[in-house]
Symmetry: C2
Subunit: 274 residues, 2 copies
């Protein structure tokens, strides 16, 4: 068979990636850089964005609808590129789907435990992610650790407003981060896919010995591993594509999405969700 | 007939009020104070909140679904207690519904034109409201006026975070308001139902001669007029009620809603929207 190389199976079906809006594009960007032969389909649920303030039931419902859409597009693996959806919907999606499903919380937690020396880890995220306690549980499943959480509800609107480098953002970062610094953390998990855009202002306000964990990178590493283990890697022989779907406002997605994604977002289609 | 007083018809059916989330409670509060005999039903579309960043099509779709729910509850009048939904959905709802529909933009615009002496009016609102140009058009329909708009996307998350009295909010207000002050406005329309909670910090940052227009009050005045004209006022002889429905997170609505509403919010029901 043409699709076999050295007994290794090839699968050129796309990877499906979803998020409540733009944030997951930081994850898609990392996957695209590390695995340039893969076809990628992104779904941004911009009709319901943000997930961070929604209930568990609602986020599970939205996630199931998006996943049904991705499965129709014959995805071989699904990445939940959203911390809130990973916190709420990952277990149920893993149970019900035949394709592998990867969230951002487990890879981020693993990376944090790997890096932390004093076992004092800070986690910043949306209200939903923090209230779910998903990082707290996941990190402690790997190793008994002191985890200090802080919800930062203003970070997403600040990033979307484009104020990633302003004095105001600096003050807000200081206010949110202070209680974590008081706990003497040596590792800080960016528990929201918007937050990598605040990396510079965060770095300015923490000690140099504190390591920032960007779950986009950790998740990409996990995606690569799973594709490898399950012989699902693409060989690039089929035409390579990046597709973008949203549930609202494709035009806005194109414009703002540019800040989150490393390449130009050329074509965005709107899908009506029920 | 019992329902006639001095040839005046009475209607004890409820008034329906809707918004994307909590903000409309400032309008409901004003209506409840001015018309204490009226039964009120509130719907907060917390599964889709905020509307300010959503497209026109999406906001119209959400509004139609909510209105269908309110009509089922036999409302005699509908108040769109949300600037974005008023901007996008009012004309189509007024065309298709048999009951009167009142938005917040026309009453706010009337009040602003009435107050302004130099015909330089500032309008602050969400991205959606500002992009729709609804106040600009409405004000100029009444009288040719210079209208200066400013989108303030951080105001809603600041209010919901409860930071209505912080130094950070003060800086953000200054940044957003400055371009309007430079235009020498004498009237400022609070074009979002969350903004009355920022009244104090706004007043601190504008000249004393600038009048703030809170559309909750202007809208209540309009509601009273329409009920009067159409002989729809209640007489309070039926048991008086305030009912609250949301599309997500009733518990959170109860807690945060308290800041927006003058009375305790005792019972909130969740409704699944399709």
């Amino acid at each position: 068979m043409q699709n076999k190389q050295k007994n290794k199976k090839i699968n050129n079906n796309p990877i499906g990636i979803f998020d409540s809006g733009f944030g997951g594009l930081t994850v898609m960007s990392a996957i695209n850089k590390a695995l340039p032969l893969e076809n990628l389909i992104y779904f941004g649920d911009t009709a319901h964005v943000p997930y961070g303030t929604k209930s568990k039931d609602a986020v599970i419902k939205f996630s199931k609808e998006i996943v049904a859409f991705l499965i129709e597009h014959k995805v071989k693996l699904i990445v939940i590129a959203c911390n809130t959806a990973s916190a709420f919907a990952l277990p149920i999606l893993q149970k019900t789907l035949k394709v592998p499903v990867i969230g951002v919380i487990e890879p981020g937690s693993k990376a944090a435990v790997h890096v932390s020396k004093n076992k004092k880890i800070g986690v910043i995220g949306t209200e939903g992610t923090v209230q779910s306690g998903a990082y707290l549980k996941e990190i402690n499943k790997i190793k008994k650790t002191n985890v200090y959480q802080q919800a930062c509800p203003l970070f997403v609107p600040l990033v979307e407003e484009g104020w990633t480098n302003s004095e105001i953002t600096n003050s807000i970062v200081q206010k949110y981060i202070k209680p974590l610094l008081n706990k003497n953390i040596d590792t800080l998990v960016l528990g929201c896919t918007h937050y990598p855009l605040l990396r510079k202002v965060l770095e300015k306000n923490i000690n140099k010995n504190i390591v920032l964990i960007d779950s986009a990178k950790a998740t990409t590493h996990e995606v690569k591993n799973v594709l490898n283990q399950k012989s699902l890697l693409a060989d690039g022989k089929q035409k390579n594509f990046l597709k973008f779907y949203v549930s609202d406002n494709p035009k806005k997605f194109k414009t703002i999405g540019r800040r989150f994604f490393s390449k130009k977002i050329s074509d965005v289609k709107k899908i009506e969700m029920e």
